[in-house]
């Protein structure tokens, strides 16, 4: 399998000894949609910054399409595009002019650029907007234009840095459709950062969960969930959750992958059956406020690995 992104022991320490990224390693196959999932401050944007050559790594190395991001920074930039977390546009210029500037800087021939612009505008529903200044666009329209701009140069690697942050739910859903469409229509490798679990699950072939600058898990969403089995029991307890969890472990009702967050205990069932487990929990004298059975989610994976609530932290 060809590699589009290869990251080896990449680290970034900011002044004041702030270790934003701690020697992470991962690789992304060509054509893959790869997610970096984690709360704000986990190191996702710093990682993207290093891969897009706007942040200098403190140590380690990274290659994009074989180009070293430090020693071959311009070559790296020539094969990639970024959609930033915040709007990064010339608001007083028209949508078409914003696209043209990108095309020229990435050295797309004018006739080819024009054809791609029209094609992308049609695909992303921007045709009627292109001649208007960006200051008149809605948030979703602006974000779609930024995606079109990033695609004008037909990048080998596209970085989407929290592309749906700050958008209202309707526009966010619309944008997820656009990104899912890209995934289906192009062979571009996409590195997506997000702190939304549903987004990661829907869009990514594989994802790395990043926590406090370290990758704590890396696999496909299904494989990450599969680690927790097919069903889990979740109970909210009235007593100390940690001591209750220890009690359940002593009784053989909870494995090493069971975890507690606040007053909630999550028990992956694996080979055990839910009804018998619930009965055994009640017989063990656990005072529960609520007890449910459900399928594991990425949220559970994240909580097990980090002990923190992803969406709350974000």
């Amino acid at each position: 399998m060809e590699l589009a992104i290869e990251v080896n022991e990449l680290a970034k320490t900011y002044p004041g000894d702030v270790q934003a990224v701690k020697a992470i390693s991962f690789s992304v196959n060509a054509g893959e949609v790869f997610g970096l999932l984690g709360p704000n401050g986990a190191g996702k944007s710093t990682t993207v910054g290093m891969l897009t050559t706007t942040i200098l790594p403190s140590s380690g190395s990274a290659q994009l399409i074989g180009y070293d991001v430090v020693r071959q920074a311009r070559e790296t930039r020539s094969v990639s595009s970024v959609v930033f977390q915040e709007p990064v546009v010339d608001r007083s210029l028209s949508g078409r002019r914003n696209l043209e500037i990108h095309a020229r800087l990435w050295r797309v021939e004018p006739t080819e650029a024009k054809a791609r612009m029209d094609e992308l505008a049609h695909t992303l529903g921007l045709t009627d907007l292109l001649e208007r200044p960006l200051s008149t666009y809605s948030g979703g329209q602006q974000r779609r234009l930024e995606i079109a701009r990033a695609l004008i140069s037909r990048p080998r690697v596209l970085f989407l840095d929290e592309p749906t942050v700050g958008l209202d739910p309707r526009i966010r859903a619309e944008l997820l459709d656009v990104i899912a469409g890209l995934r289906d229509r192009t062979s571009t490798t996409i590195l997506l950062t997000t702190h939304y679990l549903d987004e990661a699950e829907r869009l990514c072939d594989r994802l790395a969960i990043i926590h406090e600058g370290t990758i704590v898990a890396l696999d496909s969403p299904a494989a990450l969930r599969a680690d927790l089995g097919e069903k889990i029991v979740e109970l909210r307890v009235r007593d100390n959750a940690q001591r209750t969890l220890e009690l359940l472990r002593e009784r053989g009702l909870a494995g090493e992958d069971a975890f507690s967050v606040g007053a909630t205990i999550t028990l992956p069932l694996h080979e055990r059956r839910a009804p018998e487990t619930i009965t055994a929990i009640e017989e063990a004298g656990v005072r529960s406020a609520a007890i449910t059975t459900r399928e594991p989610t990425l949220d559970d994976v994240y909580l097990r690995l980090t002990g923190g609530q992803l969406s709350a932290a974000a």
């Binding site: 060809e2 589009a4 970024v82 930033f84 010339d90 007083s92 990108h102 020229r104 800087l105 990435w106």
Partner: protein, 279 residues
């Protein structure tokens, strides 16, 4: 892990060969943005025109001086126009960084110094246009210029190189301050205070002696001396600086000071920008 295969690597034959195409694109972009921001074109011109048309004639009348004084002040206002205009141009760098497309441009496969040079080209062009307007207005007001081909070259060289240097100062400041408010707060100290000391309204030897020496160190003093030599055929400002007899030598020395100033601040501006561009 496997290494990237050679056929996956996109060849990049054009990157090093054509630096001027992206420079033209960036300069065109900056010009379009400036054209949509009238303050960048008009505001820096207001004060100098006010000086040339209103204050200089008023001073002449109040102080009972000659028409030569009007010309002295009118040319001196060029020393206000250049710093004001270039410093205002620096605001666009902050706007680009705070709410514009700077990060997109930093992700482009171009040398990042081109971003500074493109802004400089536009700031230079707008300044040149404004100086032309100022001189045309002064001429229409009846101020007489004494220009030869050679003297015009001294004027053009001094004005151009000083503009480049002042834009370097603007880029440096824009890279060092985090917010537009802080930038604007520092503009008077850089663009206006030196103007009062550089022989704009009166010869520098009218200042207290320690300030005269200080004025001799200001690049603006040298620029204004060359401007007056170029536009009025008046070498007295050069003589006030160098106290020599050979006018060409004095002009050359002053130009050297302005060149050194421009080289220093342009380098500083590009370095400061590059440092803020990559954390």
């Amino acid at each position: 892990m496997t290494a990237a295969t050679p056929e996956l690597v996109t060849p990049l034959p054009t990157i090093a060969r054509e630096p001027f195409r992206p420079l033209a694109t960036l300069a065109h972009r900056r010009l379009q943005l400036s054209a949509r921001t009238p303050r960048e074109l008009v505001v820096p011109l207001l004060t100098p025109i006010l000086f040339a048309l209103v204050i200089a004639p008023a001073l002449k009348q109040a102080l009972h001086t000659s028409a030569a004084y009007e010309a002295f002040v009118a040319t001196g206002t060029i020393g206000l126009l250049i710093p004001l205009n270039t410093m205002f141009a620096g605001i666009s760098v902050l706007v680009d960084r705070e709410s514009g497309a700077q990060r997109e441009l930093l992700a482009a496969p171009i040398p990042r110094a081109l971003l500074v040079l493109a802004n400089l080209i536009v700031a230079f062009a707008i300044t040149a246009l404004q100086i032309a307007v100022l001189l045309a207005v002064a001429r229409a007001r009846g101020i007489h210029f004494d220009v030869t081909t050679t003297s015009l070259l001294w004027f053009l060289a001094a004005g151009s190189i000083f503009t480049i240097g002042m834009y370097g100062a603007a880029e440096t400041l824009a890279a060092r301050v985090p917010r537009t408010e802080e930038y604007i707060g520092r503009v008077p100290a850089i663009a206006i205070v030196p103007w009062f000391l550089a022989g704009s309204l009166f010869p520098i030897n009218a200042l207290p002696s320690f300030l005269t020496w200080f004025a001799r160190l200001l690049p603006l003093t040298h620029t204004l001396a060359l401007v007056r030599y170029g536009l009025l055929n008046d070498p007295s400002s050069l003589h006030n600086i160098w106290r020599m007899h050979n006018t060409t030598t004095m002009a050359a020395l002053s130009l050297l000071v302005v060149v050194a100033f421009a080289a220093l601040l342009t380098t500083a501006g590009i370095r400061a920008f590059s440092r803020t561009a990559v954390r």
